[in-house]
């Protein structure tokens, strides 16, 4: 359980200063937002006149960034924002990755790599050795492979269609790396079926795994219960959870709550 978001959450209006098309479906928006943030944390991004969505910070320095994947209408409208667009930002909310491990395996699936990238960069900056296993549907959708090479001990790719790296799921690559040993932590973010497999591999090898989880968010303040996940609230207790916690959650990888609070399959 973390401290209250009461002291950090005031909304600011920020101007998009840069827009980078990362992959055909993914865009990074950069903006100046004064508050201190840590890898793993997220902000609420509001396109005025439209919805507000939780987005992990893919850049946590002075000039912050979010990396948005085209999903439904809202994310599509957010990612089409260009430089000069005013967006509402509040946060940062949630907990962060523990950056103390020295030999880290980062397993990213799709846009899940967004939250892992700044964590890996900061850990590397503090002397850790970071290995990456990154998955995507196809080579052009591979996120941040170039960004991460400078901080990587190795970058292993996997694509569903075999257009880059291993032909198949990134979990196969992760499985192999974990079983070979040498890691004192595994960080993962991506589809929950993927994360479940990484957790299992970590457990077999007795390596602690930390996964970043998404759930419906409204208040992001630990108030409304929209993000309930078992006894936790992803907005304040997460989004980063230790693997053993996720493994104990019936809902993880199976069900989530829709905006009405009903449980639906993930």
């Amino acid at each position: 359980m973390n401290a209250s978001p009461w002291d950090s959450g005031l909304r600011e209006v920020c101007t998009v200063v840069a827009r980078e098309q990362e992959t055909p479906s993914t865009v990074t928006l950069r903006f100046e937002y004064s508050k201190e943030a840590h890898p793993g944390q997220f902000v609420m991004v509001w396109l005025p006149g439209d919805d507000e969505l939780p987005m992990s910070l893919s850049y946590t320095g002075r000039e912050k960034g979010v990396t948005v994947k085209a999903m439904g209408d809202t994310s599509r409208r957010i990612l089409s924002a260009g430089p000069g667009t005013k967006i509402g930002i509040r946060g940062p909310y949630g907990n962060r990755f523990d950056l103390s491990p020295q030999h880290i395996l980062v397993v990213g699936g799709g846009s899940g790599t967004a939250v892992l990238a700044p964590a890996a960069e900061e850990a590397h900056g503090q002397g850790a050795e970071v290995t990456f296993a990154l998955g995507a549907t196809t080579a052009r959708e591979m996120l941040f492979a170039d960004r991460l090479r400078p901080v990587a001990k190795a970058v292993h790719l996997a694509t569903d269609d075999g257009s880059a790296g291993h032909h198949g799921y990134v979990t196969a690559v992760a499985d192999r790396l974990i079983s070979e040993g040498g890691f004192d932590a595994v960080w993962t973010c991506g589809p929950e079926v993927m994360m479940r497999k990484v957790l299992a591999a970590g457990e077999r090898a007795s390596v602690p795994v930390f996964g970043s989880v998404e759930r419906q968010m409204k208040c992001s303040l630990g108030l409304c219960d929209a993000c309930a996940l078992g006894p936790y609230h992803v907005c304040i207790d997460g989004p980063v959870f230790p693997g053993h916690v996720l493994r104990g959650l019936e809902e993880f990888g199976r069900s989530k709550r829709d905006p009405s609070g009903r449980l639906v399959p993930v």
Partner: protein
């Protein structure tokens, strides 16, 4: 030993600190979490006939250190799905008050009927819903409608009926009187206070719904005034809500006339540990007042005022 047990009519809670409706209230496991963290009991999210997604975001805006504005739009899983959530909370031992809302008296009665077998210990009527025939005004602003809804629910269930009132009225005690006459077992006061947040740069309201409801520290004096006024005019027990963050705040509500209180915003601003912290503060406050029982303090400020 200090006795924090609180009695609201025939119901008894291990302490007077209940979780307010709409906070941690969509999932049974969260309700249970509040109970495990020390709440005396929990009130469910307000449940309607059908699942509702609520308004789009932004649904909540923090107002500095004064409170929150929210316009959730009554999201809820609907009465069909919700009994399973209550079951989970009940199984863990939490006394659950089932909150319901509907646009008509019959709607309320049907929901109460459906709530009864779930094991809730009382039904709380959230009257802040815009009423079906009206022009957008809330059911809770019209004494006749309050009476009609209360009567219908009174008939539909044997459970204690708590009527939760809005402060957005000229005279809240008038509404409480209407509820009492119609058979309510307790009054819960208050719901949020109508408010607005505007972003001056974007030149628009922040909440997707425009208007919202103010909660948190800013509204404590307003909630206290409502409880005070209701206590002077009705005999049924009052459950106080609004801006409570400390044992002292609870004491103030009790002295104004509340038998128990509910905490909403504080669960976010002070984390769920607020329940155990306030319990400890209350015990200390009571012993420094030389009192071991809360119940003798209920409404004591009314007597206090008349003494020279």
């Amino acid at each position: 030993m200090t006795e924090l047990k609180a009695e609201v009519g025939t119901l008894s809670f291990r302490n007077p600190l209940l979780l307010a409706s709409g906070i941690w209230g969509e999932s049974g496991r969260s309700l249970l979490g509040a109970y495990e963290a020390g709440a005396g009991g929990v009130v469910s999210k307000s449940i309607g006939a059908e699942p509702r997604a609520g308004y789009p975001n932004p649904t909540v805006e923090q107002y500095g250190q004064w409170g929150f504005l929210n316009a959730m739009g009554l999201p809820n899983p609907g009465i069909a799905a919700y009994p399973e959530e209550i079951r989970i909370a009940r199984q863990g031992g939490a006394p659950v008050v089932g909150s319901i809302f509907a646009p008509t008296a019959e709607g309320f009665a049907e929901l109460a009927t459906a709530m009864e077998p779930t094991g809730v210990c009382a039904i709380e009527l959230n009257l802040s819903c815009p009423h079906a025939k009206g022009l957008g005004s809330e059911i809770g602003q019209d004494p006749a409608l309050v009476a009609e809804v209360t009567k219908a629910v009174r008939k539909a269930t044997k459970l204690p009926v708590w009527v939760k009132l809005t402060p957005n009225v000229a005279d809240i005690a008038l509404l409480a009187e209407a509820a009492e006459r119609a058979g309510a077992d307790a009054i819960t006061a208050i719901n949020t206070v109508r408010g607005l947040a505007i972003d001056p740069i974007l030149r628009r309201p922040v909440l997707a719904n425009g208007l919202g409801g103010l909660s948190g520290p800013a509204i404590k004096p307003i909630g206290l005034a409502c409880v005070w006024q209701i206590f002077e005019r009705v005999k049924i027990p009052i459950v106080g809500v609004g801006g409570i963050r400390s044992g002292r705040d609870v004491l103030e509500y009790i002295l104004a006339g509340a038998r128990a209180v509910q905490l909403g915003t504080a669960v976010a601003t002070d984390t769920v540990r607020v329940f155990s912290r306030i319990s400890a503060e209350l015990e200390k406050e009571l012993s420094s007042l030389g009192t071991t029982s809360l119940s003798e303090l209920v409404g004591a400020a009314h007597a206090g005022r008349d003494q020279a």
